[in-house]
């Protein structure tokens, strides 16, 4: 290689204020990345761009895209993807994995309790208001025993590495967490582009997700069913996550159904096939609670199946995740996770929680209103990074607006210190070079009847705008392949 060619890291600016996952404060690459940099660091920017374009084309041809409407023209775009992988060594991963399982189990016990005796409330640990004021709390679920005793079969836990070097959980997503198909696609793209690097690392496979998901779904079959018929229920091909739904159905070898493919008769669910009706036993549903059954919830929903909830209450079909799980991924409940883990499991949390101020508590509300400039303000019931205000980015006038909104509806907001997410070298098109970008990690945890699984890997999401802390794809975030190393 020509020595005066600009290599990919020759102009990398290592800001010592930030926690860089690849380079230490002296600019020396950390152990796990050493081999990657040896193999890869000598590439010129041009070579890198070529590889990156190849990977992008691979996404495009596979139709792993979303649509953008601009001037009446539909454009297809791929989710921004960065070829430089994130590597997590075995010891760190063990903490994440154990922590994720611990949280999933605690949340499941919490949901059971909330929809049965509500002991945790009666014991004064979680306030009643937090439950009853949650838009995701379903009275219809009170007293219902989900097959196998599981509510949150699939959890997506968003984790960050803080500048103190520790992992913190930002939130638990237990409604319909998405993104797992991108983990698998990122890996495919990376293998195609960087096969030369791959065989130098012992990386855990991520393609076993689907088989584990199927086992989990089969483990929660309704009583009396021998070999359950599992399906994936999608809102349809215009849903932004349709690719993921079809991927999962295909990888599990089960049918991908829409609401109109199903019907309920005598409280059993059937799908309409070319050979007539076939009974359905387990539904991995990617349709929101309130759209599942127009006779029980939103009557105008065209995505649902009339009578589905009645079949579920009778125990004739299993829904994963269970209806009403959203009450536990409310951001205000998040703040009680350490107590919830202690209460049900009698354990201390393996993964840290970010300290949280509840605007519903008068003394904490006062603190929040006075310290907005150093806090992140989050609405408790929004997903996808919507409605978040980051205090030190706000003008004085904007702070006033936020203060007013919080005062109007304190229960709707929580506040957390601005966490300094770690950064990872990310290729930036505009500057044609690598720059530090904030990154988080969404892990995927499966919980079944006497079975649990954490995908060894995950979706590392990068905020592509410089300095941006919000990594959600709906807010312009990209993603990276994440390698978990074998022992």
């Amino acid at each position: 290689m020509n020595s005066d060619v600009k290599t990919i890291f020759s102009s990398y600016h290592n800001n010592a204020q930030l926690f860089d996952e690849v380079f230490d404060s002296n600019g020396v690459a950390k152990n796990v990345y050493q081999k990657l940099l040896d193999l890869y660091g000598n590439h010129s920017i041009q070579e890198y761009v070529q590889l990156n374009n190849k990977a992008k084309a691979s996404f495009f041809n596979q139709g792993i895209t979303f649509q953008v409407y601009d001037n009446k023209v539909t454009q297809e775009k791929i989710f921004p993807f960065d070829l430089f992988p994130r590597i997590i060594d075995e010891d760190e991963w063990e903490i994440i994995e154990k922590g994720a399982i611990q949280r999933s189990k605690a949340l499941n016990l919490f949901l059971w309790d909330i929809y049965h005796d509500k002991k945790i409330i009666k014991d004064g640990i979680v306030p009643l208001d937090l439950i009853t004021s949650s838009a995701n709390y379903l009275h219809q679920m009170i007293g219902v025993d989900p097959p196998g005793g599981i509510y949150n079969h699939i959890s997506g836990t968003d984790i960050i590495k803080h500048s103190d070097g520790n992992y913190y959980v930002l939130e638990d997503n237990i409604r319909c967490p998405s993104g797992v198909s991108y983990v698998i696609c990122n890996r495919t793209a990376l293998k195609r582009a960087l096969f030369g690097v791959f065989n130098h690392y012992k990386t855990h496979s991520v393609t076993n997700y689907a088989e584990n998901l199927l086992e989990i779904l089969e483990s929660v079959k309704p009583k009396g069913v021998d070999v359950p018929n599992c399906v994936v229920l999608t809102p349809g091909m215009y849903n932004s996550a349709f690719y993921e739904h079809s991927y999962l159905a295909k990888a599990m070898g089960v049918e991908l159904v829409e609401g109109r493919d199903l019907f309920v008769e005598n409280d059993f669910v059937y799908m309409k096939t070319i050979r007539g009706p076939i009974k359905v036993d387990v539904i991995y549903r990617r349709v929101d609670d309130l759209f599942m059954d127009p006779l029980e919830f939103k009557p105008e929903s065209a995505l649902g199946v009339p009578g589905l909830f009645a079949a579920y209450r009778k125990g004739n079909v299993c829904l994963a995740n269970a209806p009403g799980t959203g009450v536990a991924d409310d951001k205000a409940i998040y703040t009680y996770m350490p107590q919830i883990i202690k209460y049900y499991l009698d354990e201390t949390p393996i993964l840290n929680n970010v300290h949280t101020y509840h605007c519903s508590r008068p003394d904490e509300l006062k603190y929040v209103l006075e310290h907005i400039h150093e806090l992140v303000i989050k609405p408790v019931d929004e997903a996808g990074g919507y409605g978040i205000s980051i205090g030190n980015r706000l003008t004085k006038d904007e702070i006033k607006v936020v203060q007013e909104e919080i005062k109007q509806n304190p229960r709707k907001y929580i506040a957390q210190p601005i966490m300094s997410l770690s950064v990872h070298p990310t290729y930036i098109d505009d500057s044609e070079s690598f720059e530090q970008r904030h990154v988080d990690l969404r892990t995927f945890t499966l919980l079944g009847h006497e079975k649990e699984f954490v995908l060894k890997g995950g979706l590392s999401r990068v905020a592509l705008k410089r300095g941006n802390l919000i990594v959600n794809s709906s807010q312009g975030g990209g993603s990276k392949d994440t390698w978990v190393l074998k022992k």
Binding site: G63, R260, T273, I274
Partner: protein, 315 residues
């Protein structure tokens, strides 16, 4: 398999096949007319009218002067016209999208590439200089799709349903091409003393369905109306013949309906009946009233398709 998805796969097959035939019709008629042996067959207006006839929008008024660029654009890339190649490809992909979990990644990737090729094709290039490139690519890409369908799918119900769509559409398109070229032969008759039976249009017709070479090898003579009809309708060994398609349809319906003696109201029964009827036809009989024959067989094909919808795709 879900009834809705089966319907989508059936139509995916049909649209792929339809896109191919429309593209090839443009290609063959345009390029063979350039050095056709008589003036009328060479005439731009004559060729453009033939194209419009084929897509089902015949221009009856002789005084209308057609603009080549408009006609090519409309049939090739106009997204607002249901018969255009671009719309057929869009529909094929849309149907593939909703059945994505059932088809192979390889097949989906090929359909997707095909789609992006077509929707990104510059209209200006196409109407000015790209006709050959575009149509050849479309026909080649559909051949790749057929290869992927055959080579990367399990030969089960999914495959049978796609093949039913492909073969019903192929039979329909071949009949429609015969109809269009017969119409051309009738119109070209006066211009060059030749009888209809020996029209140049029969050669074009055979080329439109990629059967000219096979036909020459089989008959070792210049095609006539009788030999062309015989070859394209009745020869079971010709992969583009109507009877070959019907035989395929017959074979694939047996995957969906395994009963030994199909019910008299079933699709399988109707297909067997149609098959039996055409197995014992002969070309002279068809030529006697070709118009009636065409209408009848098109009706048979529509009836088969409707029956399939009712029996298997009704959701």
């Amino acid at each position: 398999m879900l009834a809705r998805v089966a319907n989508n796969l059936f139509w995916m097959g049909r649209y792929i096949e339809r896109a191919e035939h429309v593209a090839r019709y443009l290609n063959v008629n345009y390029f063979s007319s350039l050095d056709a042996p008589n003036e009328l067959s060479q005439s731009r207006q004559f060729v453009l009218r033939s194209m419009m006839f084929f897509v089902g929008e015949p221009i009856v008024d002789d005084s209308v002067i057609l603009k080549e660029e408009d006609i090519l654009y409309n049939i090739g890339l106009n997204p607002d016209l249901p018969y255009s190649v671009i719309n057929n490809v869009k529909s094929a992909r849309e149907n593939a999208n909703s059945a994505r979990d059932l088809i192979s990644t390889e097949l989906y990737e090929s359909i997707n590439k095909f789609y992006h090729f077509v929707i990104n094709y510059s209209v200006e290039d196409f109407t000015k200089k790209g006709l050959y490139d575009f149509t050849v690519n479309v026909t080649e890409m559909t051949a790749i799709l057929r290869g992927k369908i055959r080579g990367t799918l399990l030969h089960d119900e999914v495959y049978a349903i796609i093949m039913l769509g492909i073969n019903l559409e192929r039979a329909t398109q071949v009949i429609r091409i015969i109809n269009a070229k017969y119409n051309d032969a009738v119109r070209a008759k006066g211009s060059y003393g030749d009888k209809i039976g020996h029209s140049f249009e029969w050669i074009t017709l055979l080329k439109c369905v990629e059967s000219y070479d096979m036909m020459r090898r089989y008959y070792k003579k210049t095609p006539t109306s009788i030999s062309t009809l015989e070859f394209l309708i009745l020869n079971p060994d010709c992969p583009r013949s109507v009877i070959n398609s019907i035989n395929q349809v017959h074979k694939h319906i047996r995957v969906l309906d395994e009963s030994k003696t199909p019910n008299k109201n079933s699709t399988a029964f109707l297909i067997s009946k149609v098959k039996g009827e055409y197995e014992f036809k002969y070309a002279e009989e068809i030529e006697e009233d070709i118009q009636e024959f065409i209408e009848k067989i098109l009706d048979n094909l529509v009836q088969i398709s409707l029956k399939m919808e009712n029996e298997f795709f009704n959701y």
